[in-house]
């Protein structure tokens, strides 16, 4: 991971999630709630002013998890932190890209702390969600 310096861009992940994928994710939860939520049901989504279901936030945040785990591997699972604001809805059929850029790297005797701006953007490069990620690398992970 020596290549990871300030300004380094993580390998991005591009997705075009479907309503079926949203429903498959929702199937992990118990009960009927997920069949009648604005994330899986068109009629319920219309009640709050949308023409179709919007993706649940954690479903989208998964894509940030993916770029972080691809870049930092076990370190992300052992000592990873994320703070994200969800800014606007995403609907089935829209393309999203998860991105991350290293903004700070702090080295001490016991390892390196890497701080990143991370975000998800749509085709128009509008940010859908955005925040900071922090990962701590031990000497054997650098």
């Amino acid at each position: 991971m020596n290549r990871i310096e300030v300004g380094y861009s993580l390998e991005s992940v591009v997705k075009r999630p479907t309503l079926e994928q949203s429903r498959l994710n929702a199937s992990r939860y118990k009960g009927e709630f997920w069949e009648t939520s604005i994330h899986t049901n068109e009629a319920e989504a219309r009640k709050v002013g949308f023409t179709k279901p919007l993706f649940e936030g954690m479903f989208l945040i998964n894509y940030i998890f993916q770029i972080m785990s691809n870049a930092f591997r076990e370190a992300w699972f052992r000592q990873g932190e994320l703070s994200i604001a969800l800014l606007s809805p995403v609907f089935p059929g829209e393309s999203v890209t998860a991105k991350g850029v290293v903004i700070e790297k702090v080295q001490d005797d016991e390892g390196i702390t890497v701080i990143l701006d991370v975000w998800l953007e749509n085709d128009r490069t509008d940010k859908i969600l955005a925040g900071k990620a922090v990962v701590r690398l031990e000497p054997d992970q650098m």
Partner: protein
């Protein structure tokens, strides 16, 4: 609608969800989000049986739904996640959620749910805070 939401109090523990990380759960999640990372496929164990952190990051939703909270018309507005240990297939995770804030902003109601997740040896494996807003 929303009776449960109105009953929510700051400091209230809303529930605990105990679950064993299974290969089927990982396959379902990874198919849903198209994550093809080979670490998540169980083969020889060890590093290759690591579970995606999402399998505990959304435990608060399982807990809130199981507790009967009305979440059908909620948006997720903010998340803070901290991962502290690897989780693997077969780990038994126990997550407990409590309400740490409840407020109104621009005529909308928000709640903040804090969740602590521990493994079978009582090690803290993850903690999170998630903010939800009710829109209807």
């Amino acid at each position: 609608m929303g009776r449960k939401w109105d009953e929510i109090r700051v400091g209230q523990e809303i529930g605990t969800w105990k679950h064993v990380i299974t290969e089927n759960e990982i396959i379902t999640l990874n198919e849903a989000v198209e994550d093809t990372n080979p670490w998540y496929l169980k083969d020889a164990g060890g590093a290759n049986s690591i579970a995606p952190p999402m399998l505990i990051a959304d435990d608060y939703l399982h807990i809130a739904v199981n507790a009967g909270f009305e979440l059908s018309y909620c948006f997720h507005t903010r998340t803070e996640q901290k991962f502290l240990r690897l989780i693997k297939i077969g780990n038994c995770i126990s997550s407990t959620s409590r309400i740490v804030d409840k407020y109104e902003k621009r005529d909308r109601e928000y709640i903040v749910i804090e969740t602590l997740s521990k493994d079978e040896e009582n090690n803290l494996v993850a903690k999170s805070k998630n903010t939800l807003v009710r829109v209807l």
